[in-house]
Amino acid sequence: MIKMRTVEITVGLFLIAGILSLLMLSLQVSGLSHFLREEPGYKIKADFANIGGLKIRGRVTLAGVVIGRVSHIELEPQSFNATVTLTINPKVTYLPLDTRASIQTAGLLGDNYISLTPGFDQHAFLKEGDVIPAENTDSAIVLENLVSQFLAGQASKEPPSSGAAAPPSPVKREKGN
Protein backbone atom coordinates (compact mmCIF):
# COMPACT_ATOMS: atom_id res chain seq x y z
CA MET A 1 0.00 0.00 0.00
CA ILE A 2 1.51 3.26 -1.11
CA LYS A 3 1.20 6.17 1.26
CA MET A 4 -1.33 8.80 0.25
CA ARG A 5 1.36 11.45 0.76
CA THR A 6 3.65 9.87 -1.81
CA VAL A 7 0.75 9.54 -4.21
CA GLU A 8 -0.17 13.18 -3.84
CA ILE A 9 3.41 14.35 -4.31
CA THR A 10 4.00 12.27 -7.43
CA VAL A 11 0.67 13.33 -8.93
CA GLY A 12 1.65 16.94 -8.24
CA LEU A 13 5.01 16.43 -9.97
CA PHE A 14 3.20 14.75 -12.86
CA LEU A 15 0.92 17.74 -13.37
CA ILE A 16 3.88 20.14 -13.08
CA ALA A 17 5.70 18.15 -15.76
CA GLY A 18 2.62 18.52 -17.94
CA ILE A 19 2.49 22.28 -17.43
CA LEU A 20 6.22 22.61 -18.13
CA SER A 21 5.75 20.65 -21.35
CA LEU A 22 2.93 22.95 -22.37
CA LEU A 23 5.11 25.95 -21.63
CA MET A 24 7.91 24.49 -23.71
CA LEU A 25 5.55 23.74 -26.59
CA SER A 26 4.04 27.21 -26.50
CA LEU A 27 7.21 29.25 -26.02
CA GLN A 28 10.12 27.31 -27.44
CA VAL A 29 8.34 25.27 -30.14
CA SER A 30 5.53 27.44 -31.45
CA GLY A 31 7.29 30.73 -30.72
CA LEU A 32 4.25 32.10 -28.95
CA SER A 33 6.57 34.50 -27.11
CA HIS A 34 7.28 36.41 -30.34
CA PHE A 35 3.68 36.26 -31.36
CA LEU A 36 2.48 37.62 -28.05
CA ARG A 37 4.91 40.50 -28.24
CA GLU A 38 3.90 41.35 -31.79
CA GLU A 39 0.18 41.15 -31.36
CA PRO A 40 -0.25 44.77 -30.21
CA GLY A 41 0.40 47.09 -33.10
CA TYR A 42 -1.27 49.48 -35.46
CA LYS A 43 -3.44 48.38 -38.35
CA ILE A 44 -3.17 49.58 -41.93
CA LYS A 45 -5.03 48.37 -44.98
CA ALA A 46 -3.85 47.53 -48.46
CA ASP A 47 -5.93 46.94 -51.60
CA PHE A 48 -4.82 44.25 -54.02
CA ALA A 49 -6.22 43.18 -57.38
CA ASN A 50 -5.33 39.57 -56.59
CA ILE A 51 -3.93 38.14 -53.38
CA GLY A 52 -3.23 34.64 -54.70
CA GLY A 53 -2.78 32.22 -51.81
CA LEU A 54 -2.23 34.80 -49.06
CA LYS A 55 -3.61 33.69 -45.71
CA ILE A 56 -4.42 35.26 -42.39
CA ARG A 57 -1.36 35.30 -40.10
CA GLY A 58 0.90 35.50 -43.13
CA ARG A 59 4.11 37.45 -42.63
CA VAL A 60 4.58 41.12 -43.48
CA THR A 61 8.23 41.90 -44.17
CA LEU A 62 10.35 44.94 -44.86
CA ALA A 63 13.77 44.23 -46.32
CA GLY A 64 13.20 40.61 -45.36
CA VAL A 65 12.58 41.41 -41.69
CA VAL A 66 9.20 40.36 -40.29
CA ILE A 67 7.48 43.50 -39.00
CA GLY A 68 3.88 42.36 -38.85
CA ARG A 69 1.16 39.88 -39.71
CA VAL A 70 -1.87 39.72 -41.96
CA SER A 71 -4.80 40.00 -39.58
CA HIS A 72 -7.82 40.21 -41.84
CA ILE A 73 -8.80 39.66 -45.48
CA GLU A 74 -12.05 40.75 -47.10
CA LEU A 75 -13.50 41.53 -50.53
CA GLU A 76 -14.21 45.14 -51.37
CA PRO A 77 -17.52 45.04 -53.27
CA GLN A 78 -17.26 48.14 -55.49
CA SER A 79 -13.86 47.60 -57.07
CA PHE A 80 -13.69 43.81 -56.64
CA ASN A 81 -10.36 44.32 -54.92
CA ALA A 82 -9.18 42.37 -51.89
CA THR A 83 -8.68 44.52 -48.81
CA VAL A 84 -6.00 43.09 -46.54
CA THR A 85 -5.57 44.39 -43.00
CA LEU A 86 -1.98 44.35 -41.76
CA THR A 87 -1.00 44.58 -38.11
CA ILE A 88 2.37 46.30 -37.95
CA ASN A 89 4.77 46.13 -35.03
CA PRO A 90 4.28 49.38 -33.03
CA LYS A 91 8.04 50.02 -33.01
CA VAL A 92 8.00 50.45 -36.79
CA THR A 93 6.53 53.96 -37.00
CA TYR A 94 8.58 55.23 -39.93
CA LEU A 95 6.87 53.68 -42.98
CA PRO A 96 6.48 56.42 -45.59
CA LEU A 97 2.98 57.12 -46.85
CA ASP A 98 3.84 56.02 -50.40
CA THR A 99 5.14 52.60 -49.33
CA ARG A 100 4.53 49.83 -51.89
CA ALA A 101 3.09 46.48 -50.82
CA SER A 102 3.65 43.41 -52.97
CA ILE A 103 2.63 39.83 -52.50
CA GLN A 104 5.52 37.48 -52.98
CA THR A 105 6.14 33.79 -52.70
CA ALA A 106 8.75 32.25 -50.44
CA GLY A 107 10.72 30.13 -52.89
CA LEU A 108 9.08 28.49 -55.86
CA LEU A 109 6.38 26.63 -53.94
CA GLY A 110 6.34 28.35 -50.55
CA ASP A 111 3.74 30.44 -48.76
CA ASN A 112 2.67 33.88 -49.92
CA TYR A 113 3.72 36.82 -47.81
CA ILE A 114 3.56 40.59 -48.10
CA SER A 115 6.73 42.50 -48.77
CA LEU A 116 6.76 46.25 -48.14
CA THR A 117 9.05 48.58 -50.11
CA PRO A 118 9.46 52.00 -48.50
CA GLY A 119 8.64 55.06 -50.63
CA PHE A 120 10.28 58.46 -50.71
CA ASP A 121 7.93 60.58 -48.64
CA GLN A 122 10.08 61.98 -45.83
CA HIS A 123 7.34 63.72 -43.86
CA ALA A 124 4.16 61.65 -43.80
CA PHE A 125 4.18 58.17 -42.33
CA LEU A 126 1.60 55.38 -42.33
CA LYS A 127 -0.47 55.26 -39.15
CA GLU A 128 -3.52 53.41 -37.79
CA GLY A 129 -6.32 53.22 -40.38
CA ASP A 130 -4.32 54.35 -43.41
CA VAL A 131 -4.84 52.56 -46.72
CA ILE A 132 -2.25 51.64 -49.33
CA PRO A 133 -4.21 52.13 -52.58
CA ALA A 134 -4.29 49.54 -55.36
CA GLU A 135 -1.92 51.66 -57.52
CA ASN A 136 0.79 51.15 -54.89
CA THR A 137 0.42 47.41 -54.62
CA ASP A 138 1.64 44.48 -56.69
CA SER A 139 -0.67 41.50 -56.87
CA ALA A 140 0.40 37.96 -56.36
CA ILE A 141 2.19 36.34 -59.24
CA VAL A 142 0.17 33.27 -60.05
CA LEU A 143 2.50 30.64 -61.38
CA GLU A 144 -0.10 29.06 -63.68
CA ASN A 145 -0.77 32.43 -65.37
CA LEU A 146 2.94 32.93 -65.89
CA VAL A 147 3.33 29.51 -67.43
CA SER A 148 0.37 29.96 -69.77
CA GLN A 149 1.58 33.43 -70.78
CA PHE A 150 4.99 32.01 -71.51
CA LEU A 151 3.55 29.17 -73.55
CA ALA A 152 1.31 31.54 -75.48
CA GLY A 153 4.33 33.72 -76.28
CA GLN A 154 6.29 30.73 -77.49
CA ALA A 155 3.40 29.56 -79.64
CA SER A 156 3.02 32.93 -81.35
CA LYS A 157 6.77 33.19 -82.07
CA GLU A 158 7.30 29.95 -83.93
CA PRO A 159 4.39 28.16 -85.59
CA PRO A 160 4.17 24.46 -84.79
CA SER A 161 6.03 22.15 -87.14
CA SER A 162 6.20 18.38 -87.24
CA GLY A 163 9.90 18.43 -86.30
CA ALA A 164 9.37 20.52 -83.19
CA ALA A 165 6.48 18.37 -82.04
CA ALA A 166 8.60 15.22 -81.89
CA PRO A 167 10.22 14.82 -78.52
CA PRO A 168 13.97 15.24 -78.72
CA SER A 169 15.53 12.17 -77.21
CA PRO A 170 19.09 11.80 -78.33
CA VAL A 171 20.30 10.30 -75.05
CA LYS A 172 18.94 7.02 -73.83
CA ARG A 173 18.79 6.70 -70.11
CA GLU A 174 20.30 3.58 -68.66
CA LYS A 175 18.61 1.98 -65.73
CA GLY A 176 20.41 2.15 -62.40
CA ASN A 177 22.94 4.68 -63.77
Binding site: M4, V11, F14, G18, S21, L22, V29, L32, K55
Partner: protein, 261 residues
Protein backbone atom coordinates in the same frame (compact mmCIF):
# COMPACT_ATOMS: atom_id res chain seq x y z
CA UNK B 1 -31.40 -16.13 -48.93
CA UNK B 2 -31.19 -12.44 -49.68
CA UNK B 3 -34.00 -11.75 -47.25
CA UNK B 4 -32.07 -13.55 -44.58
CA UNK B 5 -28.97 -11.50 -45.30
CA UNK B 6 -30.99 -8.31 -45.03
CA UNK B 7 -32.53 -9.57 -41.81
CA UNK B 8 -29.09 -10.28 -40.38
CA UNK B 9 -27.95 -6.83 -41.40
CA UNK B 10 -30.99 -5.29 -39.76
CA UNK B 11 -30.43 -7.26 -36.62
CA UNK B 12 -26.81 -6.22 -36.31
CA UNK B 13 -27.84 -2.64 -37.02
CA UNK B 14 -30.38 -2.76 -34.21
CA UNK B 15 -27.83 -4.35 -31.90
CA UNK B 16 -25.39 -1.61 -32.74
CA UNK B 17 -27.91 1.13 -32.00
CA UNK B 18 -28.87 -0.57 -28.76
CA UNK B 19 -25.22 -0.88 -27.78
CA UNK B 20 -24.48 2.73 -28.62
CA UNK B 21 -27.45 3.87 -26.56
CA UNK B 22 -26.43 1.67 -23.68
CA UNK B 23 -22.85 2.95 -23.63
CA UNK B 24 -23.96 6.57 -23.85
CA UNK B 25 -26.38 6.10 -20.97
CA UNK B 26 -23.61 4.43 -19.03
CA UNK B 27 -21.24 7.32 -19.66
CA UNK B 28 -23.92 9.81 -18.75
CA UNK B 29 -24.84 8.01 -15.53
CA UNK B 30 -21.27 7.70 -14.40
CA UNK B 31 -20.54 11.40 -14.81
CA UNK B 32 -23.75 13.13 -13.88
CA UNK B 33 -24.99 13.34 -10.37
CA UNK B 34 -24.00 14.88 -7.12
CA UNK B 35 -20.20 14.97 -7.06
CA UNK B 36 -18.56 14.53 -3.69
CA UNK B 37 -15.75 17.06 -3.69
CA UNK B 38 -13.91 16.22 -0.49
CA UNK B 39 -13.66 12.49 -1.00
CA UNK B 40 -13.93 12.89 -4.74
CA UNK B 41 -10.68 14.83 -4.99
CA UNK B 42 -8.81 12.27 -2.95
CA UNK B 43 -10.08 9.43 -5.14
CA UNK B 44 -9.28 11.39 -8.27
CA UNK B 45 -5.71 11.95 -7.11
CA UNK B 46 -5.32 8.28 -6.37
CA UNK B 47 -6.56 7.35 -9.82
CA UNK B 48 -4.38 10.01 -11.42
CA UNK B 49 -1.48 8.24 -9.79
CA UNK B 50 -2.45 4.87 -11.27
CA UNK B 51 -3.45 6.16 -14.68
CA UNK B 52 -0.99 9.01 -15.12
CA UNK B 53 2.12 8.68 -13.00
CA UNK B 54 2.52 4.97 -13.65
CA UNK B 55 2.26 5.55 -17.42
CA UNK B 56 4.96 8.20 -17.27
CA UNK B 57 7.92 5.89 -17.73
CA UNK B 58 6.69 4.28 -20.94
CA UNK B 59 5.52 7.64 -22.27
CA UNK B 60 8.85 9.43 -21.70
CA UNK B 61 10.97 6.55 -22.99
CA UNK B 62 8.85 6.11 -26.12
CA UNK B 63 8.82 9.85 -26.68
CA UNK B 64 12.57 10.05 -26.45
CA UNK B 65 13.11 7.23 -28.93
CA UNK B 66 10.48 8.44 -31.38
CA UNK B 67 11.98 11.94 -31.38
CA UNK B 68 15.44 10.52 -31.97
CA UNK B 69 14.30 8.30 -34.82
CA UNK B 70 12.37 11.15 -36.42
CA UNK B 71 15.48 13.32 -36.34
CA UNK B 72 17.62 10.57 -37.84
CA UNK B 73 15.19 9.68 -40.62
CA UNK B 74 14.28 13.29 -41.31
CA UNK B 75 17.90 14.30 -41.52
CA UNK B 76 18.90 11.61 -44.01
CA UNK B 77 16.03 12.64 -46.29
CA UNK B 78 16.34 16.40 -45.90
CA UNK B 79 20.10 16.47 -46.34
CA UNK B 80 19.68 15.20 -49.93
CA UNK B 81 17.87 18.44 -50.75
CA UNK B 82 20.21 20.53 -48.67
CA UNK B 83 17.27 21.35 -46.45
CA UNK B 84 18.48 19.91 -43.16
CA UNK B 85 17.77 23.32 -41.59
CA UNK B 86 14.08 22.38 -41.79
CA UNK B 87 14.61 19.43 -39.45
CA UNK B 88 13.14 21.27 -36.46
CA UNK B 89 10.04 22.09 -38.46
CA UNK B 90 9.61 18.51 -39.63
CA UNK B 91 10.01 17.04 -36.15
CA UNK B 92 7.85 19.60 -34.37
CA UNK B 93 4.98 19.61 -36.84
CA UNK B 94 4.69 15.83 -37.07
CA UNK B 95 4.91 15.48 -33.28
CA UNK B 96 2.63 18.31 -32.26
CA UNK B 97 -0.07 17.57 -34.80
CA UNK B 98 -0.03 13.80 -35.06
CA UNK B 99 2.44 11.65 -33.23
CA UNK B 100 2.09 13.24 -29.80
CA UNK B 101 -1.67 12.74 -29.48
CA UNK B 102 -1.88 9.51 -31.49
CA UNK B 103 1.11 7.55 -30.24
CA UNK B 104 0.43 8.93 -26.78
CA UNK B 105 -3.12 7.57 -26.96
CA UNK B 106 -1.99 4.20 -28.29
CA UNK B 107 0.53 3.83 -25.47
CA UNK B 108 -2.05 5.05 -22.99
CA UNK B 109 -4.53 2.44 -24.21
CA UNK B 110 -1.93 -0.28 -23.85
CA UNK B 111 -0.69 0.76 -20.43
CA UNK B 112 -3.50 2.51 -18.56
CA UNK B 113 -6.58 1.43 -20.53
CA UNK B 114 -5.87 -2.27 -20.23
CA UNK B 115 -5.05 -1.86 -16.54
CA UNK B 116 -8.34 -0.03 -15.97
CA UNK B 117 -10.32 -2.76 -17.71
CA UNK B 118 -8.55 -5.51 -15.81
CA UNK B 119 -8.98 -3.75 -12.48
CA UNK B 120 -12.68 -3.06 -12.94
CA UNK B 121 -13.22 -6.54 -14.37
CA UNK B 122 -11.56 -8.03 -11.32
CA UNK B 123 -13.70 -5.89 -9.02
CA UNK B 124 -16.73 -7.16 -10.89
CA UNK B 125 -15.75 -10.82 -10.84
CA UNK B 126 -14.88 -10.71 -7.14
CA UNK B 127 -18.34 -9.19 -6.52
CA UNK B 128 -16.87 -5.96 -5.15
CA UNK B 129 -19.12 -3.90 -7.40
CA UNK B 130 -22.19 -5.91 -6.42
CA UNK B 131 -21.42 -5.65 -2.75
CA UNK B 132 -20.94 -1.92 -3.12
CA UNK B 133 -24.33 -1.72 -4.76
CA UNK B 134 -25.85 -3.74 -1.93
CA UNK B 135 -24.34 -1.31 0.57
CA UNK B 136 -26.32 1.41 -1.12
CA UNK B 137 -23.31 2.96 -2.88
CA UNK B 138 -23.52 3.49 -6.61
CA UNK B 139 -20.41 1.91 -8.16
CA UNK B 140 -20.74 4.12 -11.23
CA UNK B 141 -20.11 7.17 -9.09
CA UNK B 142 -17.75 5.60 -6.59
CA UNK B 143 -15.59 3.48 -8.90
CA UNK B 144 -16.14 4.49 -12.51
CA UNK B 145 -16.41 8.27 -12.33
CA UNK B 146 -13.01 8.98 -10.66
CA UNK B 147 -11.28 6.60 -13.07
CA UNK B 148 -12.95 8.20 -16.02
CA UNK B 149 -12.00 11.72 -14.99
CA UNK B 150 -8.47 10.64 -14.16
CA UNK B 151 -8.03 9.21 -17.65
CA UNK B 152 -9.56 12.32 -19.11
CA UNK B 153 -7.04 14.56 -17.31
CA UNK B 154 -4.02 12.31 -17.60
CA UNK B 155 -4.21 11.73 -21.35
CA UNK B 156 -3.59 15.35 -22.50
CA UNK B 157 -0.87 15.77 -19.87
CA UNK B 158 0.85 12.58 -20.97
CA UNK B 159 0.56 13.60 -24.59
CA UNK B 160 2.12 17.01 -23.84
CA UNK B 161 4.98 15.37 -21.97
CA UNK B 162 5.43 12.88 -24.79
CA UNK B 163 5.64 15.65 -27.39
CA UNK B 164 8.05 17.77 -25.35
CA UNK B 165 10.37 14.87 -24.58
CA UNK B 166 10.29 13.74 -28.22
CA UNK B 167 11.26 17.21 -29.43
CA UNK B 168 14.13 17.22 -26.97
CA UNK B 169 15.14 13.78 -28.26
CA UNK B 170 15.04 15.12 -31.79
CA UNK B 171 17.16 18.07 -30.69
CA UNK B 172 19.71 15.74 -29.13
CA UNK B 173 20.14 13.70 -32.30
CA UNK B 174 19.66 16.49 -34.82
CA UNK B 175 21.72 19.23 -33.22
CA UNK B 176 24.11 17.55 -30.83
CA UNK B 177 24.90 14.54 -32.95
CA UNK B 178 24.22 15.32 -36.62
CA UNK B 179 25.26 18.95 -36.34
CA UNK B 180 22.22 20.87 -37.56
CA UNK B 181 22.56 24.49 -36.47
CA UNK B 182 20.81 24.99 -33.16
CA UNK B 183 19.48 28.45 -34.05
CA UNK B 184 18.05 27.28 -37.36
CA UNK B 185 16.53 24.23 -35.67
CA UNK B 186 14.50 26.29 -33.22
CA UNK B 187 13.82 29.24 -35.55
CA UNK B 188 12.37 27.08 -38.32
CA UNK B 189 10.35 25.23 -35.76
CA UNK B 190 8.93 28.42 -34.32
CA UNK B 191 8.17 29.80 -37.77
CA UNK B 192 6.29 26.65 -38.77
CA UNK B 193 4.38 25.76 -35.59
CA UNK B 194 1.40 27.90 -34.70
CA UNK B 195 0.20 27.89 -31.15
CA UNK B 196 -3.49 28.41 -31.78
CA UNK B 197 -3.77 25.96 -34.63
CA UNK B 198 -1.11 23.29 -34.18
CA UNK B 199 -0.56 23.12 -30.44
CA UNK B 200 -4.16 23.75 -29.45
CA UNK B 201 -5.50 21.30 -32.03
CA UNK B 202 -3.03 18.70 -30.79
CA UNK B 203 -4.33 19.21 -27.26
CA UNK B 204 -7.94 18.96 -28.46
CA UNK B 205 -7.07 15.70 -30.18
CA UNK B 206 -5.51 14.27 -27.06
CA UNK B 207 -8.55 15.26 -24.98
CA UNK B 208 -10.84 13.50 -27.45
CA UNK B 209 -8.62 10.41 -27.48
CA UNK B 210 -8.45 10.46 -23.69
CA UNK B 211 -12.24 10.45 -23.47
CA UNK B 212 -12.64 7.66 -25.98
CA UNK B 213 -9.89 5.40 -24.65
CA UNK B 214 -10.95 5.76 -21.02
CA UNK B 215 -14.58 5.32 -21.93
CA UNK B 216 -13.87 2.11 -23.82
CA UNK B 217 -11.65 0.87 -20.99
CA UNK B 218 -14.13 1.38 -18.15
CA UNK B 219 -17.05 0.16 -20.25
CA UNK B 220 -15.26 -3.04 -21.22
CA UNK B 221 -14.33 -3.51 -17.58
CA UNK B 222 -17.83 -3.16 -16.25
CA UNK B 223 -19.46 -5.17 -19.03
CA UNK B 224 -16.94 -7.99 -19.08
CA UNK B 225 -17.86 -11.55 -18.34
CA UNK B 226 -16.87 -12.02 -14.69
CA UNK B 227 -14.42 -14.86 -15.23
CA UNK B 228 -10.66 -14.97 -15.68
CA UNK B 229 -11.08 -15.55 -19.42
CA UNK B 230 -13.71 -12.86 -19.66
CA UNK B 231 -11.36 -10.30 -18.11
CA UNK B 232 -8.58 -11.34 -20.48
CA UNK B 233 -10.85 -10.97 -23.49
CA UNK B 234 -12.16 -7.62 -22.26
CA UNK B 235 -8.60 -6.35 -21.81
CA UNK B 236 -7.72 -7.35 -25.35
CA UNK B 237 -10.89 -5.70 -26.64
CA UNK B 238 -9.99 -2.50 -24.82
CA UNK B 239 -6.62 -2.28 -26.53
CA UNK B 240 -7.98 -3.22 -29.96
CA UNK B 241 -11.07 -1.01 -29.88
CA UNK B 242 -9.33 2.01 -28.43
CA UNK B 243 -6.44 1.77 -30.89
CA UNK B 244 -8.84 1.57 -33.83
CA UNK B 245 -11.04 4.34 -32.45
CA UNK B 246 -7.97 6.54 -31.93
CA UNK B 247 -6.68 6.08 -35.46
CA UNK B 248 -10.11 6.48 -37.05
CA UNK B 249 -10.95 9.58 -35.04
CA UNK B 250 -7.53 10.99 -35.80
CA UNK B 251 -8.24 10.91 -39.51
CA UNK B 252 -11.58 12.57 -38.96
CA UNK B 253 -10.20 15.26 -36.64
CA UNK B 254 -7.26 15.95 -38.93
CA UNK B 255 -9.62 16.40 -41.86
CA UNK B 256 -11.71 18.86 -39.86
CA UNK B 257 -8.78 20.74 -38.29
CA UNK B 258 -6.15 20.87 -41.01
CA UNK B 259 -8.10 19.81 -44.07
CA UNK B 260 -8.82 23.30 -45.40
CA UNK B 261 -5.33 24.77 -45.21
Amino acid sequence: MIVRRIQALGRSGLAFVQDAGHTSLFLFNSLVGRPDFIHGTERLIKQLYFVGVLSLLIITLSGLFIGMVLALQGYTTLVKFGAEQALGQLIALSLVRELGPVVGALLFAGRAGSALTAEIGLMKSSEQLSSMEMMGVDPLKRVIAPRFWAGQIAMPVLSLIFTAVAILGGYMVGVEWLGVDSGAFWANMQAAVDFDTDVVNGIIKSIVFGTVVTWIAVYQGIECEPTAEGIGRATTRTVVYSSLATLGLDFFLTAVMFGDT
